[in-house]
């Protein structure tokens, strides 16, 4: 428990920069990632592995879309919504994008207020982030039910064109939606921990003996921004192409 605190700060002053810094960090004792709490480093490594999972999905989607002879359903029309009598292309997806970006913005504020130990503002912005995330999932549920019930899209086929459309769509957005849902749950957990002062009083967490610190808010933030990041790629290569 106590040894984590000393390891990171001891040599902070004498760290080298640039290429020599990389060599020195990687060849040094104890830890390669200096000035970074271990939880954050591990979250980054998890996100790296997740990058490869989503990368595999998007590459499979590309392969499947390029290799099909049947015309691919036009996402611009498939995801259009009729608002006030006018069909606006892709509007739901655009709103979802803005909701998720906004949630990233509130998350970054939560992290910032967390490091200032402003408990109230941190909780407010964490909850706000969770609400925006839940809104996103709700809109995705709406999108799915519209596609399944009204347009008749199935993982094995659809009336609009290439049969692979449904499989790719449900797999990619489903996996992303799962990530958002898990993120919302964890945001609420972190908000509760901050709200009742667990981090201020350094109480250990439910499954760990380590003392709680405000770094977990930033680690949570990394996960949340990653979810936003993945959406940037899905938005570009699935919806806009």
């Amino acid at each position: 428990m106590t040894q984590t605190a000393l390891a990171s700060t001891a040599h902070a002053a004498e760290l080298k920069e640039g290429l020599p810094g990389i060599v020195a960090d990687w060849s040094s004792d104890q830890r390669a990632f200096k000035n970074v709490p271990w939880g954050k480093a591990m979250m980054w490594i998890f996100l790296l592995s997740d990058t490869f999972i989503f990368g595999s999905f998007l590459i499979s989607y590309m392969t499947v879309r390029m290799s099909t002879q049947a015309p691919w359903p036009n996402p611009s029309e498939v995801f259009a919504l009729v608002i006030a009598g006018q069909s606006i292309p892709l509007i739901l997806i655009a709103i979802m994008t803005f909701v998720l970006i906004s949630s990233s913005g509130t998350m970054v504020l939560a992290v910032n207020y967390g490091y200032r130990k402003d408990r109230k503002m941190t909780v407010i912005f964490l909850i706000l982030t969770a609400i925006l995330g839940a809104t996103f999932v709700g809109m995705q549920a709406f999108e799915w039910s519209k596609l399944i019930l009204e347009e008749g899209v199935r993982p094995w086929g659809n009336p609009m064109g290439a049969a692979q459309f449904g499989a790719a769509f449900f797999m990619i957005t489903g996996f992303h939606g799962t990530h958002v849902s898990i993120g919302v749950i964890f945001l609420i957990i972190v908000a509760i921990k901050v709200g009742r002062g667990d981090l201020d009083h350094q109480r250990p967490g439910f499954m760990t003996g380590r003392r709680g610190t405000y770094e977990i808010v930033e680690t949570m933030g990394l996960y949340w921004h990653f979810v936003d990041l993945v959406w940037v790629f899905i938005f570009a290569v699935f919806y806009l192409w």
């Binding site: 700060t9 902070a12 490594i45 970006i101 998350m107 970054v108 910032n112 930033e218 933030g221 938005f235």
Partner: protein, 137 residues
């Protein structure tokens, strides 16, 4: 950074490490976050506009990819604090995903081949009959 320690509720705590430790954390002025936030909105609106105004062809691909990379870069660099991390970590995280580009290339070759094969074996009958036609003539 320094004043963040000043009003820390844990000030009464005898152990000095936690206070010192949160200097390690990422503390930056709020202004930069709001700027990036606004920029992300603008870029999202721009990529939506590409679809809304039916830009087609290479211009569409180019614009979408540029906006995508800019957004991704801004999120990773500022929101995820990558510009403020040490290079050892930055390279450990950002270099491996470049491998995905190799997979993209492999996938594209494979897809082209599959597309051709499908055209040859499962194509419409008219196309299949075409090579045979000169024989019957």
């Amino acid at each position: 950074m320094a004043h963040a320690e000043g009003h820390a509720p844990t000030a009464g705590h005898s152990h000095a490490a936690p206070d010192k430790k949160h200097e390690v954390g990422q503390q930056h002025p709020l202004g930069i976050y709001f700027k990036i936030w606004g920029l992300l909105f603008v870029l999202s609106a721009a990529s939506y506009a590409v679809d809304y105004f039916h830009v087609q062809g290479y211009l569409r691909w180019g614009l979408i990819l540029v906006f995508m990379m800019l957004k991704a870069g801004l999120i990773v660099a500022v929101f995820m604090h990558m510009v403020w991390e040490r290079l050892a970590m930055v390279y450990a995280i950002l270099v491996p995903p470049l491998l995905l580009l190799v997979f993209v290339a492999i996938g594209a070759f494979e897809a082209d081949y599959t597309f051709l094969t499908r055209g040859t074996f499962f194509g419409p009958p008219a196309q299949q009959a075409a090579p045979a036609a000169p024989k019957h003539k």
